[in-house]
Amino acid sequence: MDDLKEEIRIGVYVCHCGTNIAGIIDVKEVSRTAAGLPGVVISRDYKYMCSYPGQAIIQEDIKEYKLTRLIVAACSPLMHEETFRNAAAKGGLNPFSFQMVNIREHGAWVNDDKEAVTMKANDLIRAAVYRIVCHKPFQRTRVDIQPSVLVVGGGIAGIQAALTIANAGKKVFLVEREPTIGGHMAKFDKTFPTLDCAACILTPKMTSVKAHPNITLWAYSEVRKVEGFVGNYKVQVGRKPRYIHEDLCVGCLKCIDSCVYEKPQFPKEFDLGLSKRKPVYIPFPQAVPQIPVIDPETCNKIKFGKCKQLCMEACNERKAIDFDQKEKIEEIEVGAIIIATGFKIFDPKRLPCYGYGIYQNIYTSIEVERLLNASGPTGGKVVLQNGKKPETVGIIHCVGSRDVLNTNSWCSRVCCLYSLKLAHLLKEHTEAKIYNFYIDIRAPGKNMEEFYNRVSKEGIHFIRGRAASVTLDDSDENMSGVVIQAEDTLIGKTLKVPVDMVVLSVGMEPQPDAKEVGRMFSIPCAENSFFLEQHPKLAPVSTMTEGIFLAGCCQGPKDIPDTVAQAGAAASEALSLIDNGYKELEPYTAYIEEDECAGCKTCIPLCPYSAISLHEEKKKAIIQETLCRGCGVCVSACPSGSIKQKLFEDREIFCEINGVLERQ
């Protein structure tokens, strides 16, 4: 107990914060009261303690009065705790010989009664004086950081993040669940508001990912397990069997041509089932990697064990095809992780009133993207089921968005603008009459409102009102048309608009497995299941778990420009973490007083980070400090009181309680 010998000399500083504090709290009185507390050798008040002269006063006093402890009563510790810890360190004290008292946010700003709030400030300072006597000096623990990054998800967000990091000279592992990278963007025809072709701007980036010496691309793979902590994540990636060896295949695609199925006859996932593929296929012509995949559900050899295996013959001496391929687990160590797992498109079958899957010629917006695309199922021709061009098209906005009662409360942000884009493209392709049924047109952002103005001048009709239903058109003799019913809220009339084709502007939803993915990476989901950022304004790409960052729509709906910007931000956060080489841990970690520990194991299952284990020989608990995040759950559960949390030791908190309650 060497701290008993130590002389306690406390300096108390009361900040005016201009008039923020001094306008309500009698700072002179508070400072005088503090001077009378045990151990306090100097007490001052000053206009701005956080200013340079304010900090200089502290540093001079530390020398002159030989202070060993420091208390600043000012704003919230979340604001300036680090400032004053640094000031203490510059003055020669241990940074943790400091305690901050919040008399602004929790005092002056929430109370009008001058006398009562001055008393509150006195109580809080007394508590700090009592508590700080127990403070022990310590150093923050440093951990080394692996100079590599894992990017999960190979859509535009993951691609952008991976390229940024790789270009900085760091190693990147890019893991994508689908057989190709590119994500949703690869399926789009054009992109708003510039109308440049999605493939033209995306595929060069996809190719650079494959070609980049610093990027290891694992498509058709999933993260299976994540362990470790900031700077040192150990990750297991499962590489699903393609039944084709990536390192032997040259992408000649002869296996596809030679397959016993002469014609494609299974629904092609990339075209959302609008076209067909063979059991061996590549998702789309510019897929990266340019390697086919064999679908075990439809391949005769894998499913039934019987096939002429013409593909094997075509592959010849390359021997790239392997029907016995199994999932292979790769183990990697990375310093940081970027989650870019994207979104799920809303399934309009959940709203049967719109007739999707019931009537003909009702498409989702993403299906129309494929229909418009030159490499899509119709080669870029928009035609009805009967082969004719549509003469009237209705576009229904906000399907699965802004619908608190039935589906999702949020605005998916992109639907207004892609609906305008589709209206323009459909008009261009078919010269049809186009009706937009909208609640509001939301077109914020650079050049977006201008795009809206442009499209609205192209003779496209806008009806302000959420469409109520889509029903069969009885008056149509072919029974192929449908009627959209909606209230035009601008004229207060119910309209029935017969159309040949309906486009449902479906919104974005979190991936169905977002919760499990969140649990695997220890990142929480917000109420709506999109991943939660650490701070919506000041830490928008960080998560509550250090070293794990977010990019793209897994954090919330956004368009391509915002996604790319956010991916760049996540990449630079990851870089600034790994480039430093080391990381200082939170100071509040728990440790065990070995002599007191009875080895009862109460604490072990309580730790959410598995940081506690039992030393087999000593029969005592040990805490791996690098895994401890400092919640203190084990500390309050330990029956013998042998676990201590730095800066939140039992006696420190007891002193604080006694301090605030002591009667004056």
């Binding site: 700003w109 929430v110 509150k120 809080l124 006694n658």
Partner: protein, 162 residues
């Protein structure tokens, strides 16, 4: 203190990530609430040892308020669930000890709910004011006096039994 009108005293334990931040937000938004509360910061409600609460009552608190992240939102995954379990157990014990139910209270308050801090403090204060002073320190003194009075008798018995 005795000459003045009695004012309830509430000790609050707020977690660093949600409720402490909510209390900061209440300040930044200048939401006024009763000055009777003294907020003590802990990193997680899971750190709150039931002894802290007993200590607060025994040192003169009329009420103890615990504020933590909403279920599912805990910064440390599940510390708030552990706090909830301890809270439930302790509440039952306090009731058995004759301490009214509303004197210990648990509220889930997220970092964006400054208004809820204002409401929770004011609402709790009103309820505790209705219950009157708990005043355990004075009771302890009285009980000590009673113990002194029965001491001779007690020690006689102890000797006889021993």
């Amino acid at each position: 203190m005795n000459s003045k009108k009695w004012e309830p005293r509430i000790v609050a334990f707020f977690c660093n990530w949600c409720t402490y931040r909510a209390a900061d937000l209440a300040g930044i938004s200048r939401m006024k609430y009763a000055p009777n509360v003294r907020i003590i910061r802990v990193m997680c409600t899971g750190r709150i040892d039931p002894q802290f609460i007993l200590n607060a009552f025994s040192k003169g608190a009329d009420g103890v308020l615990i504020g933590g992240c909403h279920p599912g939102d805990c910064h440390y995954v599940e510390g708030n669930y552990k706090a909830l379990r301890r809270f439930r157990l302790l509440s039952r014990m306090l009731k058995d000890m004759g301490i009214e139910e509303g004197r210990l209270r648990l509220e889930w308050i997220s970092a964006s709910e400054g208004e809820k801090v204002q409401w929770a403090v004011n609402n709790m204060l009103e309820k505790v004011r209705g219950m009157g002073p708990l005043d355990l320190p004075d009771h302890f003194k009285e009980w000590d006096k009673e113990m002194e009075m029965v001491k001779p008798e007690l020690s006689e018995k102890v000797v006889r039994n021993g």
